[in-house]
């Protein structure tokens, strides 16, 4: 399952992509209202997306958020990794968040294989799905 946070992030990105043509940046408060996301929680999400270069933000009274890339350049793999972390279902098969299984001899492990297959199929799908394709 993806987290609620990740779903909020996705909704926010889609909202920003839909309103990409506006001349001024978009307030987090507007997104929060329209998408029914808790305002303060959304702020921390948007900040994470900005830290990851997905969004551009500006401050002050006329501040707000904008996409920092074309909507077809923002992939679900990016989003999920930023917000939820690993996409793989086992730490030891994660490409971006690899970790050894504490009590598991990896060379003789018989279960890795199937989880690598799932990871690859999942990455293929999320990696070829952009925010633009979800409008």
């Amino acid at each position: 399952m993806i987290s609620k946070k990740c779903k909020y992030a996705l909704k926010a990105l889609i909202y920003l992509a839909k309103n990409q043509e506006r001349p001024t940046p978009i307030f987090s408060s507007e997104i929060a209202e329209q998408e029914r996301i808790p305002k303060k929680f959304l702020e921390t999400i948007l900040r994470e997306l900005r830290n990851a270069q997905i969004l551009h933000s500006s401050r002050g009274k006329t501040g707000g958020y904008k996409l920092n890339k074309a909507a077809d350049q923002i992939l679900l793999t990016d989003l999920i990794r930023i917000i939820d972390g690993p996409i793989a279902m086992l730490p030891c098969v994660s490409l971006n968040y690899y970790a050894t299984c504490p009590e598991c001899d990896e060379s003789s492990c018989t279960i890795k294989g199937v989880f690598e297959k799932v990871r690859d199929e999942t990455l293929a799908i999320f990696g070829s799905t952009s925010i633009k394709s979800l409008l």
Copy 2:
């Protein structure tokens, strides 16, 4: 990510499958020691697997556990659903644990599709992977 519990369950099933030819059932204490799983925690896991008809148990001094099906009839889809619940990454695309998204109009939802694809690919892999194939 699958839970630690689910990984424990998988290890236990593989252990039981490996020792399927033994005349007597296998103690949870033996599995716990061999696979380094907390004993009491393992007991609750094995009970869940028994409740789901995956295992057969017998009580008393010579009691223990055995597979209740051929190892090639126990699929990863079964295991994961019993222990962790839904395989899908969104409640609204789960086949076995469907739930509506609270604030989401499902008919106009644009994100379901990609998660259905991931679900289908994942089910195809886990659904064609048996405990036997992991020995």
